[in-house]
Amino acid sequence: MIRQDAKVILDIVDLHARVEDQTILNGVNLKVRAGEIHAVMGRNGSGKSTLSKIIAGHPAYDVTSGTIYFQGENLLAMEPEERARVGIFLGFQYPIEIPGVSNLEFLRVSTNARRTQLGLEELDTFEFEDLVNERIKLVQMDPIFLNRSVNEGFSGGEKKRNEILQMALLEPIVAILDETDSGLDIDALRIVSSGVNQLAKPNTATILITHYQRLLNEITPDYVHVMNAGRIIRTGGKKLALELEKSGYEWLDAEPGNQGGLNHG
């Protein structure tokens, strides 16, 4: 929901970044206020995942210029774990498997890290089980996955549910969901979407990276951005997504200033 007087919680200013010698982000600007839902769309390779990983603090990317403020603080100065503790959450496009590390224990340790930051008591194993059993209903995940190793042998859909479960436990301020809808069947999509909707609060914000209108039918965005060659080249309301669904991205390429994407030369 857009309220012009709401606080800006995430402010990305002229962000440039590269990996090794390749420039990937080429001046991203994005302001996110409390209560808003943003959709980020754009072709494969346009830099959407890179943007989300830089927000979360992935060490592979060098920010060459620009800044990111989170609730007024310089986010780029924080370690990835600190960012998570203060309320940044990234739902991974490709969640990582961690063999040997119990999913339940992983969820508990991360939940406690966030709780400590918030000045709350750490939960012991019993208290945490109560909490996880309550939150797991939101994503309708089989509790059997709690006793497995983190994401190991999970199907694509199960991994995505596990991501949303993490989000439900961590209660972030800004959640970035990178193609959480890809590879989900319609039922799973509804479950995940209703989870996201229930978790949205007036003081939090969500950034959805997606290719599909069907997700945006379930979660109504306040803004839709289109990324191309490492920049946001167009911002609109929910109608923009419908246009993209109908006509693809080509008509945007034809607009002045949108050519010469870094991936083409």
């Binding site: 961690i98 063999p99 993490q166």
Partner: protein
């Protein structure tokens, strides 16, 4: 942040046990010859059979060559530049702890092994061995009620010579290998355990080995006998001070399990491993072997090897009794310039014998970590089965992991399964954990303990927690 460098820093934590106890010791001159062997035996007032055992071993050793097949590569050891007998002066045999030098008690306190009546561990009997000499054994009286003997080898030689004569060298013959022969000639002390028929040992038994002097070779010997239907769980821990010279440690451990007997032998080895440039540290050449003599007997080795500059160690099982079981669960972590060549031998002699091998090697820094294992199925081992799993984890890109599985089978009606894997802690895995609020160090140690979980699950409860902590410590740069 370069995650590989950071992981490198993490695995180099300071060694907590590096202090030296200032204590008067009686030492003999450096060097080894027949006179020295006789001197050691006479200082210990040993019966003639043991002197003869030592002399025979010494003569065999003189003709043997140091093995070079292991993937270790270390400077030549000058065996004449080592002291072969040293003992704390005031140590003799003590009737009670009050007579033990308080400095020694203090040392073990500092190591977290309190020996005094009030403070000692409630469910573990401890034999404290200082520079290869046993200084105290707790709970002896309580164990005696069950007929369990737990004392130093030296005491056992005096009090139970017939058991020693019968079993010493019966599992590891004195000419078994170069280091076993050396140990047999000059061994100083160690632990002796005897569990009588049908007794399930009422508490965990533990030996804690502390090396204190720098120039003295360490040659302890352990002998554990489980009679028919007996069972025991034995733990071994080891630490040493930091010296910039290398100390030779060549131990021998022999286990004998008769019909239906079971021995579980767990080790947490944390000898000083040298500094990050590979200066100093213990050269650890150990021969450990268990003999499942009786039917349905079982011997299980679990080890967590984190210390020593060099580790050469293959705890093995000879599965002679029909339906006997051998197990080997190992975690070996090497860092900096450490080198480990470790594994097991499972020798299937009897029918339907079974063995399980689970080995987890973690190599960081510039270290090298090899698994070397032999599964041998003899012609009479009809229906024998082995399952082996050897996993390596690499941290950083300078470390080395190798696996040498040898399989020899003379029995077509047997079943051998071998699985192996190598993995690396990836930047993406660490980032995933970090992006959930888990700190870098904790993320690494979570992954390492996850990798080792199959082995930790085999350790006795108190020990598993200790092993997990030890690895975490080794992996925590900032601690200490």
């Amino acid at each position: 942040m370069n995650s590989e460098n950071s992981v490198g820093e993490l695995v180099s934590q300071p060694y907590k046990y590096g202090f030296v106890t200032d204590i008067e010791t009686e030492k003999i001159e450096k060097g080894l010859n027949e006179e020295v062997v006789r001197l050691i035996s006479s200082k210990k007032k040993e019966p003639d059979f043991l002197l003869q055992f030592r002399l025979k071993a010494f003569n065999q050793w003189k003709k043997m060559k140091e093995p070079i097949w292991a993937n270790l590569g270390y400077p030549e050891i000058d065996y004449q530049d080592i002291i072969y007998y040293a003992a704390p002066k005031k140590i003799e045999k003590k009737e009670s702890l009050e007579e033990v030098d308080p400095k020694l008690l203090e040392t073990f306190d500092k190591l977290g092994i309190p020996l005094s009546e009030q403070k000692r561990l409630s469910n573990v009997a401890v034999d404290a061995v200082f520079d290869s000499v046993s200084i105290a054994t707790t709970y002896k009286e309580k164990l005696a009620e069950y007929g369990v003997i737990f004392c130093s080898i030296g005491e056992a030689v005096n009090d139970y010579p017939e058991l020693i004569e019968r079993y010493i060298g019966s599992v590891v013959p004195s000419n078994d290998n170069f280091f076993a022969a050396l140990n047999s000639a000059v061994f100083s002390d160690g632990s002796f355990v005897y569990i009588p028929k049908g007794i399930d040992c009422p508490m965990e038994l533990s030996s804690y080995f502390r090396i204190n002097s720098g120039d003295t070779g360490q040659f302890e010997r352990t002998l554990i006998i489980a009679e028919e239907g007996a069972s025991v769980s034995y733990l071994e821990g080891c630490t040493a001070p930091m010296f910039d010279t290398n100390t030779l440690h060549a131990a021998v451990v022999e286990l004998v399990a008769l019909d239906h007997a079971s021995i579980k032998y767990s080790t947490v080895q944390n000898w000083y491993s040298g500094n990050e440039h590979g200066i100093g540290g213990i050269y650890n050449f150990v021969t450990k072997r268990g003999h499942c003599r009786g039917k349905k007997s079982k011997i299980s080795w679990s080890q967590v090897e984190t210390g020593s500059a060099i580790t050469w160690k293959y705890p093995s099982c000879i599965l002679q009794g029909e339906d006997s079981i051998g197990e080997f669960y190992s975690v070996a972590l090497t860092n900096n310039q450490q080198k480990a060549d470790t594994g097991t031998k499972m020798v299937h002699v009897g029918p339907r014998t079974r063995s399980t091998i689970v080995s987890k090697g973690i190599s960081a820094g510039h270290s090298s970590n090899s698994y070397r294992g032999l599964v041998q199925i003899g012609s009479k081992a009809l229906g024998a089965r082995n399952y082996s799993q050897c996993d390596s984890m690499l941290i950083g890109d300078q470390a080395e992991a190798k696996t040498y599985p040898y399989i020899r089978s003379q029995q077509p009606q047997s079943n051998i399964e071998h699985e192996a894997s190598t993995c690396r802690i990836s930047e993406d895995q660490l980032f995933y954990l970090q992006s959930r609020g888990i700190g870098f160090e904790e993320a690494v140690s979570m992954m390492v303990s996850g990798f080792c979980r199959d082995v930790f699950n085999q350790l006795p409860m108190e020990f598993a927690a200790e092993a997990d902590k030890l690895l975490a410590l080794k992996l925590e740069g900032s601690v200490g």
